[in-house]
């Protein structure tokens, strides 16, 4: 006597991304904390000093946040106009920021008033940075110039007037105090050496450059502009290495993960893409609510901070290992499992007589009904579990398929009252156009229409649903037709592009 074979629920391939170590790593963040700033967040910079505070530049203010605080630890408000590019010095003591009013201000992190104000630019300053020896400041401005300033004397050291458009990004070398790179809206990237009068290297990005980034080794340079992210090999004299086009709007910000293995790019298209730096393939993707202007990663990737055009600052913290353990602990606490395991790991002694217990097979509710040939009840029990029906429609469809195989689907669908029928129709409306379920549900829909066509017009609820179903099906038919047309077009294109090859045929040669 064989036991009842339960209904097979087909496992459909999961659509979407595959589970890779990368997705696991980048998904291991908590839900984002959101802070509303006064204007678009243009720049975020992490301090390299221990608590890793970060400076957020938005509108006319710079806020400094602690790693887990939602309230700013410190605020700099002494700006006459929109502030730009608040940056920490590598020792975390000083902070520099540009401003639309063309002045560059230097703050002590603990103080409030600017220590130094550098005047000289004639237009707004969008780029500021400290050189690696900590005594100089690099600035880039909309007046097409970039300058170097001495902090102790607060004097201008050099000025370079090589760009022909706004300078909107720049970076100093961490290894050499004299080298810095600027990117401009004139589509070029220029590498300057403070010891030389002119730029030492020029690269053409062919789009207005929005962001530049140096690899820790400083052999490679990454630039973002337009929809492109480009990687340049500095050691080969600025030879382009790769060009990535994964965003569909301007890329605004670049960042490297802490180990330097992953590159992150943020764009106005509201996505953050993460690339593998060995093969430059996208390994993960974050979605945000608004266009992203700035992006920064805390050391060790502890948090991802993203600033958006609508002034929202979104902070995602990494889940700590303790929390993970807590989650696991919760599962272990479940009593069901303990009972389940009870006595299973008991090893019988040598002389023990083993009495085997018959294994009780667990059947799902619908299977229990199917076993008893209660066909209508089987379908009802499944439809009544609303959560199950919505989340896992596979099961309901599998039950319908099984009923169809038994030749009793019609009987199971018939004889329903208004409430039952509308439940059923709701399910059909939700799933009939799903290509995984269409073959089964189309038969079911046809049967329902056959059975209940006599009572159409008696219930307003059912009628409304039927109309919706009709609209749905009509739209789907239109889609299919369009798709077929596209397919036909593609076929002709492919056929035309394939080279014609003669197959050697002995019959024809004879």
């Amino acid at each position: 006597m064989a036991s009842f074979k339960s209904t097979k629920i087909p496992i459909y391939p999961k659509l979407g991304e595959k589970v890779t170590p990368d997705t696991l790593y980048w998904k291991n963040y908590k839900a984002p904390v959101q802070i509303k700033e006064f204007g678009a967040v243009t720049s975020i910079d992490f301090s390299s000093l221990a608590p890793h505070n970060y400076a957020v530049t938005a509108s006319t203010r710079i806020h400094i946040y602690g790693p887990f605080s939602t309230e700013p630890v410190k605020t700099f408000t002494r700006f006459k106009d929109t502030a730009y590019s608040g940056k920490f010095r590598s020792d975390g003591q000083l902070l520099v920021a540009g401003c639309e009013d063309s002045m560059v201000r230097l703050f002590d992190v603990s103080g409030k008033v600017a220590l130094r104000v550098f005047k000289g630019h004639t237009k707004g300053v969008h780029v500021t940075d400290f050189t690696s020896d900590c005594y100089h400041i690099l600035t880039g401005s909309d007046d097409y110039t970039c300058r170097l300033w001495d902090i102790p004397n607060s004097t201008e050291l050099t000025s370079y007037k090589e760009h022909t458009d706004y300078i909107r990004c720049g970076i100093t070398s961490k290894l050499n105090r004299d080298i810095f790179i600027t990117g401009s809206y004139d589509h070029t990237l220029r590498v300057f050496d403070a010891r030389v009068e002119k730029s030492v290297m020029t690269m053409d990005h062919s789009q207005p450059v929005e962001s530049v980034l140096l690899y820790p080794s400083e052999g490679l340079l990454v630039s973002a502009g337009g929809r492109y992210v480009k990687v340049w090999d500095l050691l080969k004299g600025g030879q382009p290495l790769v060009s990535l086009k994964n965003h569909h709007k301007t890329v605004t910000c670049l960042s490297l993960s802490s180990n330097g293995q992953r590159l992150l790019s943020a764009s106005l298209d509201r996505h953050v893409k993460i690339y593998n730096t060995t093969n430059y393939k996208v390994v993960h993707n974050f979605d945000y609510a608004a266009s992203i202007l700035s992006l920064a990663l805390a050391p060790d990737d502890e948090s991802i901070v993203v600033g958006m055009t609508n002034g929202v600052l979104s902070i995602k913290h990494r889940k700590s290992p303790e929390e993970k353990r807590e989650m696991a602990g919760k599962q272990r606490m479940q009593p069901v499992y303990r009972i389940f395991v009870k006595g299973r790991n008991y090893v019988p002694k040598k002389d023990d007589f083993l009495v085997s217990k018959p294994v009780k097979s667990h059947l799902a509710k619908y299977d229990k009904q199917l076993k008893k040939f209660n066909i209508s009840k089987a379908l009802d029990t499944q439809l009544r579990q609303i959560s199950c029906t919505i989340l896992i429609p596979e099961i309901t469809v599998a039950v319908m398929k099984e009923l169809d195989r038994r030749g009793t689907l019609k009987n199971a669908l018939a004889g329903r009252d208004e409430q039952n029928l509308s439940q059923l129709l709701n399910f059909l409306i939700g799933n009939v156009v799903d290509p995984r379920f269409t073959p089964v549900l189309v038969t079911a829909t046809e049967m329902i229409l056959d059975i209940y066509q006599a009572v159409v017009g008696q219930s307003s609820v059912v009628d409304r649903q039927l109309v919706r179903l009709q609209e749905l099906v009509e739209r789907e038919v239109d889609y299919q037709q369009d798709l077929l047309e596209v397919l036909g077009m593609l076929d002709t294109l492919f056929a035309a592009s394939l080279p014609r090859k003669e197959v050697p045929c002995p019959g024809s040669s004879r």
């Binding site: 006597m1 074979k5 195989r405 030749g407 002995p506």
Partner: protein, 828 residues
């Protein structure tokens, strides 16, 4: 044609065992069932076949117990004989020749010396009318007796299983069509009861089966619409009554009362054994999901064992309607072999579709079904007219690690459902585990599939009527959680033609796909290398040559052509006009077997592609077309030196005829060897004889003998020499009775009079003599002694020789005793 005396075609196993009701012996230890031309005796506990009672020359059509001897059964056959067997020893006792083909047999205790058989109406053998006749079995000592004393009982009965004896054999009830006929032996009168045909409301009233209550006057009849009617008061023609029971939704196939009449068992297509309580008919017990439709039910005489025969060639043994205790499964042969015959490379078992939704693994060497592999994994609904999934294709890869199956379900008015499943062999469970399921791998029927034999890649090619062939590759996804699974690698086609067959070359470097009239040859990188064509006629079968003939590609076409292409020159090597219905290549040699159908018969040619003359040919192999064939590798290589039999050395060719008989080719030497091995396996003890028992049982007996010698010693005096002398010496050389009497009595006295010290020597002597392995030598010795005494003359010294003899024996015993005792001391 050369006469091949040695090679002949033989039936090889796989007979129906569910043809007629099984018979359970009185002690419930054995089960007898008709299986083709023989009666098989199974042990009810071990499921092993104990005896194969051979002797009938045609289909055995019924078995009944001999009511006067519980160790004997009668069997009847279409060859017109009734045979009496002793089933414990497997001996044919008697043959009664009736002279007409017999379709079933009935017997009753109360009619001694009479069997009731169903034979065709005497005047017309071909007619569809049958009659029940009583045959008086003549009491004669001969082995073969002609039983000519027939007397008709009932006219117009159905040929099988639709008659039953009533209480104390007073009447017999038979059903046919819409009529129940009861014949009363006392009154020699029959009553007939008719039902309306009742076609309206879907009720089909036709009778299907009948069973009579053993203790009361009650007849139960089963009907086509699933009703069971209990007839009472039927000895009056008019005032009969009946009550109706209804549970079955299909026809009731069989009915049986238990021996005490407390329960009624019924079975039908639902495959549920229903047990009705006789007095409370609304109470019933069920035993569901037994397998195929139940065709017969048998109950053991003590009522403890039920036995159901199923349509899938299976017998289930059920203990008191609760537990299935054993299943005897034969080769399942449905309407046809949908899957090709294949050989499992691991178990060397023949694999074909069996029960619905299953693949069966059938051991050819042991004629036993090994196991069924559930392919569809769905609850089978026993209902007529339902479209079920069927396994239509199966293929193994060369090492037996992978099994690919295709299941199909055609539905009226909707499209075909196809699933391709790939099964991996699991070493731990020693069976195949489902790895990948591909739903709708093609848009139309899959016509063929094969695995690539190359050892580097695991690849499967399926071809379908939708005009495409697809290559499936095992892809390893070790980076993600799921393990290795299969995915489609390539989709190919040729001018939208429908492909019909495919074949890989022996090394897997070429794939040939037959697209109607064109053969396309593809490389492993999916380049179309060449096309070969020999119109007219679509390609039916393709086969690459092997070993030394691997440069040849053979193809058969529908328009009577067998072509052989040379792959090096891409040209036709030769072709012959024969209508080859089936082409098979031997995987172990260059040989090919081609079955040709010619004027309603099948011929076989075995040839090498490179040689012009066939190695072997046999005309008129069997009637009709050969459906399927396969080369099965042998366990041991045969060493036959005859040229025409050499093709059978490495592998054996099995084939299915039109009537689904499994046949094979066999040589004389092989049969001799088989016979010898079967003799070696024959065992005297009939209970639970398995090869395993043979090994262990002997061992245990030896152990018992070692550990418990006393038990044996007490019994030994029975086999004393004096008795042996008495029994085995020819009567004419024996001395007078008075002389023997004293000797005989004395021999008996030994056990009781003399003490245990005396007993042991006797035993020792016996043992030592047996060790000499010459019980006979001793006997001869005794005979000589007797002869000597006779020579001395009976009158001379009547008492003296006996005395001296006794003394002599005493001495000898003492001698033996001393010796053994000493030796035992020395050993200690």
């Amino acid at each position: 044609m050369v006469a091949h005396g040695e090679i002949h075609v033989v039936h090889r196993g796989g007979n129906k065992i569910n043809f007629r009701e099984t018979v359970i012996t009185n002690d419930s230890r054995f089960l007898l069932c008709a299986s083709g031309e023989s009666v098989k005796v199974y042990s009810s506990s071990s499921e092993e076949c104990v005896h194969d009672l051979q002797g009938h020359t045609d289909l055995v059509s019924g078995i009944v117990r001999n009511p006067s001897n519980h160790l004997q059964v009668y069997s009847c056959s279409a060859d017109g004989t009734v045979r009496l067997w002793d089933f414990t020893d497997g001996i044919l006792i008697k043959t009664f020749i009736i002279g007409y083909p017999i379709y079933s047999i009935y017997i009753s205790e109360n009619h001694g010396g009479v069997v009731f058989v169903v034979v065709p109406m005497a005047n017309d053998k071909s007619s569809e009318l049958f009659q029940l006749v009583a045959v008086h079995l003549p009491l004669s000592g001969d082995q073969e007796v002609e039983a000519r004393e027939l007397s008709a009982v009932l006219c117009d009965v159905s040929p099988s299983g639709a008659a039953s004896f009533g209480r104390k054999g007073e009447y017999i009830a038979a059903v046919k069509g819409l009529q129940l006929e009861v014949f009363f032996f006392k009154k020699q009168k029959s009553h007939r009861f008719f039902l309306k045909s009742g076609n309206k409301k879907g009720a089909k009233n036709a009778f299907t089966c009948v069973s009579c209550h053993p203790k009361e006057d009650c007849i139960a009849t089963g009907h086509e619409d699933g009703k069971i009617r209990l007839w009472r008061n039927f000895n009056q023609k008019k005032e009969y009554t009946y009550s109706t029971l209804h549970w079955h939704h299909g026809a009731v196939n069989t009915l049986q009362f238990t021996p005490e009449g407390t329960n009624l068992l019924s079975g039908g297509i639902e495959s549920v054994l229903v047990q009705w309580h006789y007095t409370q008919e609304n109470q019933k017990d069920f035993l569901p999901r037994l397998g195929g439709a139940i065709t017969h039910i048998a109950v053991s005489p003590d009522g403890s064992l039920f036995c159901t025969s199923h349509s899938d060639n299976k017998i289930t043994i059920i203990q008191s309607c609760v537990k299935v205790s054993a299943i005897i499964q034969g080769l399942v042969k449905g309407e046809g072999v949908r899957t090709d015959l294949t050989i499992d490379p691991r178990s060397k078992a023949l694999v074909l579709n069996g029960k619905p939704g299953h693949l069966q693994f059938y051991s050819l060497h042991r004629d036993k079904l090994l196991y069924n592999l559930d392919i569809v994994q769905q609850e089978y609904i026993h209902e007529e007219g339902l479209d079920q999934f069927e396994v239509v294709k199966a293929a193994f890869d060369t090492r037996g690690n992978w099994l690919a199956t295709v299941e199909e379900r055609t539905q009226k008015g909707s499209e075909l459902e196809i699933n391709l499943k790939l099964w991996a062999y699991d070493e731990q469970t020693q069976s195949f585990m489902l790895n990948t399921t591909v739903t709708a791998p093609h848009e139309d029927q899959i016509t063929a599939m094969c695995f690539s034999p190359s050892p580097e890649t695991t690849m499967l090619v399926t071809i379908s009527f939708d005009g495409h062939f697809k290559a499936w590759l095992l892809a390893d996804h070790s980076d993600t959680k799921e393990g290795a699974c299969w995915s489609c690698d390539f989709v190919g086609g040729y001018h939208h033609l429908k492909p019909g067959c495919c074949c890989f070359s022996a090394d897997g470097s070429l794939l040939a796909v037959g697209f109607q009239e064109v053969v396309t040859v593809w490389s492993p990188s999916w380049e179309l290398l060449t096309t070969l064509s020999q119109p007219p006629g679509a390609i039916r079968d393709l086969c690459f040559g092997r070993l030394s003939c691997s440069k040849y590609l053979l193809g058969t076409s529908t328009k009577n052509q067998l072509c052989c292409w040379n792959l090096l020159t891409c040209s036709l090597e030769w072709s012959t006009p024969v209508d080859v219905s089936l082409l098979q290549a031997d995987p172990l040699s260059e040989n090919m077997a081609a079955f040709c159908s010619q004027s309603g018969c099948s011929d076989l040619f075995v040839f090498k592609p490179g040689e012009p003359r066939p190695l072997y040919s046999q005309k008129a192999l069997c009637t009709g077309k050969v459906q399927r064939a396969v080369f099965a590798p042998r366990d041991q290589m045969l060493e036959s030196c005859e040229e025409h039999a050499q093709w059978l050395n490495r592998s054996q060719l099995y084939f299915f005829t039109q009537h689904m008989d499994l046949m094979t080719f066999s040589t004389k030497t092989e049969e001799d060897r088989l016979l010898a091995s079967s003799k070696r396996l024959m065992v005297d003890d009939s209970v639970a004889v398995t090869p395993f028992y043979l090994l262990l049982g002997k061992h245990r007996q030896q152990q018992e003998a070692l550990t418990n010698p006393m038990a044996e010693r007490i019994q030994l005096p029975q086999g004393s020499i004096a008795i042996k002398e008495l029994l085995y010496t020819p009567a004419h050389v024996l001395p007078s009775a008075s002389f023997l009497c004293s000797m005989f009595v004395r021999s008996l006295l030994i056990s009781s009079s003399s003490a245990s010290e005396e007993k042991e020597p006797v035993e020792e002597e016996m043992e030592s003599e047996e060790e000499d392995s010459e019980g006979e030598a001793e006997l001869r010795d005794a005979r000589q002694d007797l002869g000597g005494s006779a020579a001395w003359g009976p009158g001379e010294e009547l008492g003296a020789p006996a005395l001296t003899k006794a003394q002599e024996r005493e001495l000898r015993r003492v001698k033996h005793f001393d010796h053994s005792w000493l030796s035992s001391v020395l050993e200690c």
